[in-house]
Structure formats: structure tokens, C-alpha cells
């Protein structure tokens, strides 16, 4: 079989505002992860431009992208991506050590309700706990942007709700622009704005008149 180019994104035009909570909703393969990666400086678009404040990310080289991620972006991944050889505290410290004005790892872990489990290794924790460590790691540097890629994808409902609650609290208390990717439509209810995604395109954008707290969500 020959090689066929499949563009992940085709003409996305989207603005994100400081401090808002956005949910990107779409089925698997709709291109939402690619968009998130581009927003976070993990990937560059083949064409078009991405701007952060007055900075054009699509023109950046590897070093400036690294600087952008280091200073402004926090990531939460579906599979946590914790360093297995480091404890919860150390995984957070990994980021605080290179950030400009971070909170302490202890503060960050307390924020996600893990003050008691700081010296556990990833393998000694449940999936929900690992994801909360990942969130603590993402927010410890006080990022302007928090990007979460299916943060509840590998979790059960109860744990998922707890994780979403933490994300919402970070958004509320730290005023971090937060983008959560999910294919789970229920989560859309807790966002300021919901971006519906399909086939590499923004299908439509809805603004929620009223945000639901994470605790009230069930799926």
C-alpha cells in the first residue's frame, strides 16, 4: 500500500482567553490531541500560525519552544507520564527546579489532596493518585496555560470526577487558562466554553451560561 498523507487538522481558527476553562470535545481521531500538542509547543503545524500573547509559536525553533513550555505551559497526559524512578514529590520537584517562581512540591501536592503520599513511587499509587501527581507537577510552576489530554481517560468515574475537581480548582484559584481534551460529552458542562471538534475542524463553539461543578458530573 502506498503512503497517503492524512492532515490531522484542516483550517482551525480558535482564540483562547486568559483564565477561561475550555473543553475540547470530539471523537477519537478528530485531531484534538494534535491541536493540544500544537498549543503546548510539543508540535508545530505544517502551515498556519499559533500565537501566545504576542509571540508566534509556529516560527519558533526547538530552543524557544522548550523555553515556552518551561515558562508558561503545564501538561497533564492521559497516561500520566510520571518518571517511574522518582517519588511523587520528586516528580513535582523535577519541574519546580527549573521554573521561575514555582510553588513548593509540597504545596502543589497538597493542592491536589496528596499531602500524605508524597514519598510514594508511581507504582505504589492508584491511577487517580498518579493523575493527581501529574496535575500537581503541571501546576507547580504556576503556568499560564494548563493543557490536559484526556485526563480522565484511564480512570473510573469516581476518580475521574475527583481529578476534574482538582483541575477546576486550579483554574479557579490560580486563574490558569485551562484546556481539557475529552471525548466525554458530560465533562463539557463544567467549561466556560465548549469547542466541538470533528474531522480536523472546529464544528461549533458553545458558551455555557452556567458552569456545573465537577462533583455533579456522572457518566
Amino acid at each position: 500500500m502506498g503512503e497517503v498523507q492524512v492532515p490531522a487538522l484542516r483550517g482551525v481558527d480558535l482564540d483562547l482567553y486568559a483564565g477561561e476553562f475550555v473543553v475540547l470535545l470530539g471523537p477519537s481521531g478528530s485531531g484534538k490531541s494534535t491541536l493540544l500538542n500544537i498549543l503546548g509547543g510539543l508540535d508545530t503545524p505544517t502551515s498556519g500560525s499559533v500565537r501566545y500573547a504576542d509571540h508566534d509559536l509556529s516560527l519558533d525553533d526547538d530552543a524557544s519552544m522548550t523555553q515556552y513550555r518551561r515558562s508558561h505551559v503545564g501538561f497533564v497526559f492521559q497516561f500520566y507520564n510520571l518518571i517511574p524512578s522518582l517519588t511523587a514529590r520528586e516528580n513535582v520537584a523535577l519541574v519546580t527546579e527549573i521554573a521561575a517562581s514555582p510553588m513548593t512540591p509540597e504545596e502543589a501536592l497538597a493542592l491536589v489532596g496528596l499531602g500524605q503520599r508524597m514519598d510514594h513511587f508511581p507504582t505504589q499509587m492508584s491511577g487517580g493518585e498518579q493523575q493527581r501527581v501529574a496535575i500537581a507537577r503541571a501546576v507547580a510552576k504556576r503556568p499560564q496555560v494548563l493543557l490536559c489530554d484526556e485526563p480522565t481517560g484511564a480512570l473510573d468515574v469516581q476518580t475521574g470526577v475527583m481529578v476534574l475537581d482538582v483541575i477546576a480548582r486550579v483554574n479557579r484559584e490560580l486563574k490558569t487558562t485551562t484546556v481539557v481534551i475529552t471525548h466525554n460529552a458530560v465533562i463539557a458542562a463544567m467549561a466556560d466554553r465548549v469547542v466541538y471538534f470533528g474531522d480536523g475542524l472546529v464544528a461549533r463553539i458553545e458558551t455555557n451560561a452556567e458552569k456545573k461543578p465537577a462533583a455533579g458530573l456522572r457518566w
Partner: protein, 787 residues
């Protein structure tokens, strides 16, 4: 400690067995390097300082007899510093407790004592007094071989008179570091020694009162040694001078320098090979190890760690592993170097040994290891870090497999699914598979290089003493003798067969090349002493013309049919030309051969001989010795069995020590490589294999998939490695050849089998170790994590 450094230590601990295996490989490379270079350095420094401290002379010459006043004329030659005239005599010694005849070179002790040239280092007792005829000092090795105590008495035949001697001292001399009977290739401490006697006492015995028959000279800095040699020859011609020669042609010095040169060759070759192979393996293994951290590298990058920070992190990790190898390798190398130097010091009877570890040696070894490890790391990190983090954090995309040529050949239906997986995996990752294959092959090959010298030595003994020199005893006479002596010899007890020879010391000259050696006239059709061609078939002796050792012909740039100038170095020293009639193959020494009668004609002498080879009924050997002891004309007796023993002893004591070490190191390297390959394969494919287990595959079945690949690679690597090893052996042999001996490449089947077995056993042990881990695969974890 930063979180990243903590990760470093924990990761290291996590992969400790792999790290250890890699450190072992580095250790072996560094250890070999340091062992060889420190030993070589110690011997060179010791040789230099020994020569300097004991004023080893620079020009030597023997003559018939010259009056003492001639000394001043030698002193007056431009460039000559110190002149030492002396009396030397080849004597027969009778040790009361030893049946066989013993030969000694009796040397007069310098009147200037410890300020003279070739000063003696006394290991026990004192120097013999100048005027006391009965006092001697002997070589330390001889005293040890005969368990002689100071005050012991034995007998010598001095100028035909039997005289009792008392041992007053044992000594070492820079002139006779190796005490070898002329014509012998190896020292025999029981049957030959240098002995020292007072100048007047020895002079009187040999009618050399107020005269001398040997001179040693030292030169002023910047002196032209060839001019001195020519002037000395000119001056001594009327006095039966036998041709002056420089230090480089002095027997003991030559033996020592050749030995050091050979060690030097090995010292550059072996460590370079070991370091090179260790570096290559290090590079491959480290590269794969780092490549496995791809997802972690991507995560670090996602959180804002720059490429350099990530690279530095892994460089630190790798340096720690390499550093462990470097430190332990240095310690091991120094320890082995001391052991090896000690062996050489004992062997050469140096009065002392200057052992020191040069920092630059350690630096070189460390640098080579770190560079190799660093290069592997940089490449792997660069590859992992150049991926967009988004891409790197995902597991590697599934590899595109396709049917392999093995399957396309129509063998497909014979192959089970797991076997197809193995073959496709090897083919798909051809480069990785090739590198692993090459690594195992090199480890296999290097084992051969350690072992081949042992095979070669026994082969050389077989050829030299089994096919060429087949006599039981060889005799040399004090002076050229008439053919009639053959009948006297045949009448001795136990003598079954006699072949005679004439030996003439010569310098062969062709163009600007020349070489000091001997021409041996042998009986045509001789059965005891045979000359062999390159295919080891006996060579028919031409009625006229000269046969040369092939290596000598090469040294002198001579071909069959060429004319060569022969300067005879005895008698009235005629200079004539001879034709090279053919070449012979010899592994020890180089010389020329002629038909006995032709040599006599060439020398314009009657039927004259210098010695004889005997076949002897071993039952009557003792009574034969008793008779030979009574024959004053017999200067020396060599027994073939003893020569073989001497040969083996020299080899055992020097060459074989490090070949054993090299072999052990090679085995460790082989194991290190194979174990790491297996471990890395496990990590790379653990997830895939666990999924198979979930699907219902048994442990044995997944072990087959993982280890089958290693097995196939190992099986291909073994023949390749044996071929590589053979090639390396040829290279070593080629660089080691010199005029004292040429090492043929001989590898017996057992050696191949051993190398193959080491690799197989390493593979099996590594397989078992990995199998144990495979049995503990966490199936649930696999299902939970991303794919």
C-alpha cells in the same frame, strides 16, 4: 541533590546488572591497556637505568690476542670514552652433583671494579680477587638452578687443565641479562652460565698475561659508532679481531630489545583491539540503553528541559558506568602490570624494577572509554530528543513488518507464527541486529587472539624440534676440527648416528643492507638436521650456493639467484660472494646454510667441522655424558629435550601470562555483550511479549520468541567471529615477526571450539537470566499502560 540527579541514581540502581556488565567490558579494555603499557614502561625504564647505572658498553669485539699496550691506541680513537680490555674463555664446567656437561663463558672481572664498563651487580658474596685463581662469581640464575651456596666447589677445564673453583659471589650483569649459549635460542640456566674470575688468574690460565682477547667500549655523546667500529676493526685486524659490533647486535641486548619490542607490539595491538572492541560494544549497548528512555526524554522535554540538559543527564549516567569500569580497570591493570613486570624482572634477572603508573596512560584509557560511551550516548539522546515531545511520549509507532526473504523462498509453511515473528523482527531491525551480531562476533574473535599464541607455540616446538632439529644431542668443538672426529664420536657409548656441521660466523651484505649471522655447512641428505621449505617439506641441499632463511632473504632484499657478499668473521676474515640458491622456512632465528663440502671450499680450508649432531640410545645417555665430560675438545653439549623445555619455559614465563589474561578478559567481554543484548531485547519487547502471554502464550513460547532471536544472532555470529578472530591473529603474527622468531598462525580445532563454546555458554546463561525475568512479566500492568 536535584530531582534529575535522583532519577539518575535510581535508574542506575534499577539497571545495575546491565550497568555492571558494561562496566566489566570497560574494565577489561582499560585493564589490558594499563597492564601492557605499565609493564612495557617499567621494563624500558628499568633497562635504561640498569644500562646507565652499570655502564653497559656500546661497542664489543673479540680477537685472538693483543698486547695490553694496544689499549691506549683503542682509547685514542675519536669518540671512544671508556675502554675495557678483558679475557674471555669458553670453558667446560663439571658440577659434581650434575651428570650432564655444563658450559660456561669465563669473563675476567674489570680491574676498575664497579667503575668499569659492564659493572657487576652482586646479589650475594663478593667479587673474585684479581690474583686468586680458584675464585669465581656465577650468574644468579645458575646458582639458583644448582642450589649453590657461597663456598661451594666445582671444577672447570681451563685451557685443558682441570681446576677446582670456589664460589665467592653471585652476580648480575647488564651485558648478560640473558645468558644464552651461542647458537641457542633460549637460556638454559642449568647447563650454561657466565662466570667471572680475577683478571690475572684468568689471564694466566689462558696465557693472556699482559694481553687481552676481548674489548668493550663506551662512546662519548654524539660519537659516530660506525667510525669507531671501523677504526677498531682496522686496529685489531693484525691481532685476529673478529669484527667489532655495536650494542644493537649484542646478543643479550638484542634478545631483550626484541622481547621488549614484541611486548611493545602486543602492548599497542592488544589494548587497542580490546579498547576498540570494548568501545564499540559500549557504544552499541549504551545507545540502545538510552534509546529505551525515549518516553522519559520526551516527558522531560515536555516540561521544559532543554536538549542539552537531557543530554547532560544521560552523559552523567553513562560516565558513571564507564567511570566504574575505568577505576576498576585501572586497579586491575596496575595489579596485573605489577605481576607481569615481576615475572619479567625474575625472568631477566634485573637487579631492580622501576614500576610506575604513568597518569597519561590512565588518561588515555579513560578518555577512550568515555569518548566511546559519550558518542553512543550523544547519538541516542540526539535521536530521542530530536523527536517532537508529542511524538516521543507515545510508544514508538508500530514497525512496518513484511514478509522476509526466508519466507518468500517458500519456507513459510515450515515456520510457526513465533518463528516468523523472530525472522521478521531481525530483518526489520537490520541495523540493530547487525550491530548485535558484530558485537558478539568480535567478542568471539578476540578469544581466539588470546589462545592462538598457545597453539602456535606448541606448533613451533613440533616443527623446530620434531621436523628440523631431530638430534638427541648436539656438540660443538672448541676449535674447527678434522672430519676424523666423526669416527671417534661413533665409537662413543650409545651413539647411533652422527651428522657433522661446520659453523662460520659471517656478516651478509647486500647493497646497503647487512646482517650478522652464521653460515652452517651441513651434510647433504642429512636425516637428523633437516632444512624445510615453506610447505615444511625437506629441502634438497644444492651442491653449491647458499640457502637462506626466507625471513633473512626478505630482510636483505635477496631473491633466489641473487649474489650476496659474505664477510667471514673468523680466521683471516675473507670477503667473498655467494649465490642464493634457495630459501628455507624457520621460525626461530635466521641463518644461512651450505653443503658442508661447499662451505669448506668456500672457506678455502680442508675438511673441517665445528660440531656434530648425534642420535643416541637414551639408555646409555649417562655413560655418554661421562665420556663427553672427559673430552676437552668438546666445548658444549645441548640436549634437544632440554632445548624444548627451555623453549617452553621461556614461552610459559613470558608470552603466555598475558594470553591467559587476555583470554579471561575476552570471555568477560563476550558475556557482557551477550547479556546486555538479551536484557535490552527484553525491555524493548516486554510489552509485546506480555500481551502474548495475555493471549494465552506460555512462558516457554514467549521465551522462544525473545531468545530465539538472540540464538539466531549468536549462531550466525560464531562463524563470523571465528573468521574475524583468525584475521586478527594473522595481523598480530604479521606485526610480531622479527629475526629472532616468526610466529606462524596456527589454530587448532579445540581453540575454535573453545571460543564458540564461550559464546554459546554466555548466550545460554544470559538467556536463563532473561528467562527468569520474563517469567515475572507483569501482565496486568501491560494492559493498563498505554499502547
Amino acid at each position: 541533590m536535584s530531582a534529575l540527579d535522583r532519577k539518575l541514581w535510581r535508574d542506575l540502581w534499577q539497571m545495575k546488572s546491565q550497568a555492571l556488565a558494561i562496566a566489566l567490558v570497560v574494565m577489561c579494555g582499560v585493564g589490558t591497556y594499563i597492564m601492557f603499557l605499565t609493564t612495557l614502561g617499567a621494563l624500558r625504564v628499568t633497562q635504561d637505568s640498569y644500562y646507565r647505572d652499570y655502564r653497559f658498553a656500546e661497542v664489543f669485539v673479540s680477537l685472538k690476542r693483543a698486547p695490553q699496550p694496544l689499549r691506549q691506541r683503542l682509547q685514542d680513537i675519536a669518540g671512544v670514552d671508556q675502554v675495557e680490555t678483558r679475557v674471555l674463555a669458553q670453558v667446560r664446567v663439571d658440577m659434581p652433583a650434575f651428570a650432564e656437561p655444563v658450559t660456561a663463558l669465563m669473563v675476567s672481572v674489570s680491574d676498575s671494579g664497579r667503575h668499569g664498563l659492564n659493572a657487576l651487580h652482586l646479589s650475594a658474596g663478593r667479587l673474585p680477587a684479581p690474583e686468586r685463581p680458584g675464585e669465581v662469581a656465577v650468574g644468579k640464575a645458575f646458582a639458583q638452578a644448582h642450589a649453590l651456596q657461597l663456598g661451594d666447589r666445582f671444577y672447570a677445564i681451563l685451557n685443558g687443565r682441570r681446576q677446582a673453583l670456589t664460589l665467592v659471589g653471585t652476580a648480575l650483569s647488564p651485558e648478560f641479562i640473558q645468558q644464552m649459549r651461542p647458537g641457542s635460542v633460549f637460556p638454559d640456566y642449568k647447563r650454561y652460565s657466565v662466570m667471572w674470575m680475577g683478571r690475572r688468574a684468568l689471564g694466566q690460565a689462558y696465557d693472556m698475561h699482559g694481553a687481552f682477547n676481548d674489548v668493550a667500549l663506551s662512546l662519548r655523546p654524539g660519537a659516530d659508532s660506525q667510525y669507531v667500529i671501523d677504526s677498531v676493526d682496522e686496529l685489531l685486524r693484525p691481532y685476529g679481531g673478529l669484527g667489532a659490533y655495536a650494542r644493537k647486535d649484542q646478543l643479550s641486548h638484542r634478545f631483550l630489545s626484541q622481547e621488549l619490542e614484541q611486548l611493545g607490539t602486543l602492548a599497542s595491538l592488544f589494548p587497542a583491539m580490546f579498547m576498540g572492541i570494548a568501545a564499540f560494544l559500549l557504544n552499541v549497548v549504551i545507545g540502545r540503553l538510552v534509546a529505551m528512555q525515549r518516553e522519559q526524554i520526551a516527558t522531560l522535554k515536555a516540561f521544559g528541559y532543554g536538549n542539552l540538559a537531557v543530554l547532560w543527564h544521560y552523559l552523567k549516567m553513562v560516565s558513571l558506568i564507564a567511570g566504574l569500569g575505568i577505576v576498576s580497570g585501572t586497579a586491575l591493570g596496575v595489579w596485573l602490570g605489577q605481576a607481569l613486570s615481576g615475572i619479567y624482572m625474575e625472568f631477566y634477572h634485573f637487579p631492580y624494577l622501576k614500576f610506575s603508573l604513568q597518569p597519561v596512560t590512565v588518561m588515555e584509557a579513560a578518555l577512550a572509554s568515555l569518548l566511546a560511551a559519550g558518542a553512543g550516548t550523544v547519538f541516542a539522546v540526539w535521536r530521542a530528543a530530536s523527536l517532537r515531545p508529542a511524538q516521543g511520549m507515545r510508544p514508538e509507532p508500530p514497525t512496518r513488518y513484511r514478509e522476509t526473504w526466508v519466507e518468500k523462498l517458500g519456507l513459510k509453511r515450515w515456520l510457526s507464527q513465533p518463528t516468523r515473528m523472530i525472522i521478521r523482527h531481525i530483518q526489520r531491525r537490520a541495523l540493530k541486529s547487525m550491530l548485535t551480531l558484530l558485537g558478539i562476533a568480535m567478542a568471539c574473535g578476540i578469544i581466539l587472539t588470546g589462545l592462538f599464541q598457545r597453539d602456535t607455540v606448541s606448533y613451533m616446538v613440533n616443527i623446530q624440534f620434531g621436523m628440523a632439529q631431530r638430534e638427541d644431542l648436539s656438540l660443538t668443538f672448541t676449535e674447527p676440527t678434522s672430519y676424523r672426529v666423526r669416527f671417534d664420536l661413533l665409537g662413543l657409548p650409545g651413539v647411533q648416528h652422527v651428522e657433522v656441521f661446520r659453523a662460520v660466523p659471517v656478516r651478509l651484505r647486500h647493497g646497503h643492507r647487512s646482517y650478522r649471522t652464521g653460515i652452517r655447512g651441513v651434510e647433504p641428505g642429512g636425516d637428523i638436521q633437516r632444512l624445510l621449505d615453506a610447505d615444511l617439506r625437506p629441502v634438497a641441499l644444492p651442491a653449491d650456493g647458499l640457502l637462506l632463511t626466507d625471513f633473512l632473504a626478505k630482510m636483505l632484499d635477496l631473491r633466489v639467484g641473487d649474489r650476496v657478499v659474505v664477510e667471514v668473521l673468523e680466521g683471516n676474515r675473507p670477503v667473498r660472494e655467494a649465490t642464493v640458491a634457495g630459501l628455507v622456512r624457520e621460525y626461530l632465528g635466521v641463518s644461512g646454510y651450505m653443503d658442508l663440502a661447499a662451505l669448506n671450499r668456500f672457506m678455502q680450508e680442508g675438511p673441517t667441522l665445528s660440531g656434530a649432531y648425534l642420535s643416541v640410545d637414551s639408555a646409555q645417555l649417562q655413560s655418554l655424558y661421562a665420556r663427553l665430560k672427559g673430552m676437552p675438545r668438546v666445548a658444549g653439549v645441548a640436549e634437544r629435550v632440554q632445548e624444548i623445555r627451555n623453549f617452553n619455559r621461556v614461552m610459559q614465563e613470558t608470552m603466555l601470562f598475558f594470553t591467559y589474561v587476555a583470554t579471561v578478559f575476552a570471555v568477560i567481554i563476550a558475556f557482557g555483550v551477550i547479556y546486555n543484548s538479551a536484557r535490552i531485547a527484553l525491555t524493548e519487547r516486554g510489552r509485546e511479549l506480555a500481551s502474548l502471554r495475555v493471549l494465552g502464550f506460555t512462558r516457554a513460547e514467549i521465551a522462544y520468541i525473545l531468545l530465539g532471536e538472540l540464538g539466531i544472532l549468536t549462531l550466525i555470529a560464531i562463524p563470523l567471529g571465528l573468521w574475524l578472530g583468525e584475521w586478527m591473529c594473522y595481523y598480530i603474527a604479521h606485526t610480531m615477526q622479527n629475526d629472532l622468531f616468526r610466529v606462524p598462525v596456527v589454530l587448532v580445532p579445540q581453540t575454535y571450539a573453545f571460543a564458540a563454546a564461550v559464546v554459546l555458554v554466555s548466550a545460554i546463561l544470559s538467556g536463563l537470566a532473561v528467562r527468569r525475568r520474563l517469567d515475572q512479566l507483569d501482565l496486568i500492568a501491560v494492559l493498563k499502560t498505554a499502547e
